[in-house]
Symmetry: C2
Subunit: 125 residues, 2 copies
């Protein structure tokens, strides 16, 4: 019978002896991003990690669209689109202009497009 680190309680106690290469762990720690920056980075990727939101972003790369057009294009409810647009708005990825009762959404800048283009290049290799 061998003892391994299984539960987190044990893990905490024996943490030290489980580090094989302490200098690498220390190195990683010293080069790690600040927690807020890590979160912002992850949140950016989270925005693109859902096909509905990703499709919205990709569609807006070709010009502004209103909510009901996006809903028709994506074949989801306008409510669903609206919820996702709010998330993208909060992340400063999209913005809108009002023309009467219609809100036209567009990308805030081309940063997201640069990223999707770059990733698509890699995927298509």
């Amino acid at each position: 019978m061998c003892f391994r680190v299984v539960c987190m309680a044990d893990y905490e106690d024996r943490c030290q002896c489980r580090i094989i290469h302490e200098e690498r762990v220390d190195g990683a720690r010293s080069k790690a991003l600040a927690p807020e920056e890590l979160d912002r980075l992850a949140n950016f990727f989270k925005a693109l990690a859902d096909t509905t939101r990703l499709s919205i972003i990709l569609a807006l790369q070709h010009g502004e669209m209103c909510v009901c057009d996006l809903a028709a294009f994506l074949a989801v409810s306008e409510s669903a689109v609206s919820h996702q647009l709010r998330l993208l708005r909060q992340l400063q990825l999209v913005t809108n202009r009002r023309q009467g009762p219609v809100l036209y959404y567009r990308l805030v800048d081309d940063h997201v497009s640069q990223v999707t283009d770059l990733v698509l290049e890699h995927i298509r290799e």
Copy 2:
């Protein structure tokens, strides 16, 4: 009392009349990615959308690390790390080499790093 498209059943029936700019919807449809490509793109972003996986990727940018080192660095269980590494392996983002019982993980190429660098630039502006 006004009637609006609320439930998806109604939506399907009246889909046409909810499209304000049919040409934009058609345009978006014609420029849309193929479903498989859209999924691959979303899956790539999904891989980076979790702080544990993102931290693994960022750590490996500075050199290879074994599972227990990553666990120590991330302060999560080795099992959790192993599960996430499997996902990253399946997405061809990381690979490993075995030296005795120890598996050293590294990035497959610098594509991911290009992406994280690009996004970090934008975030830091």
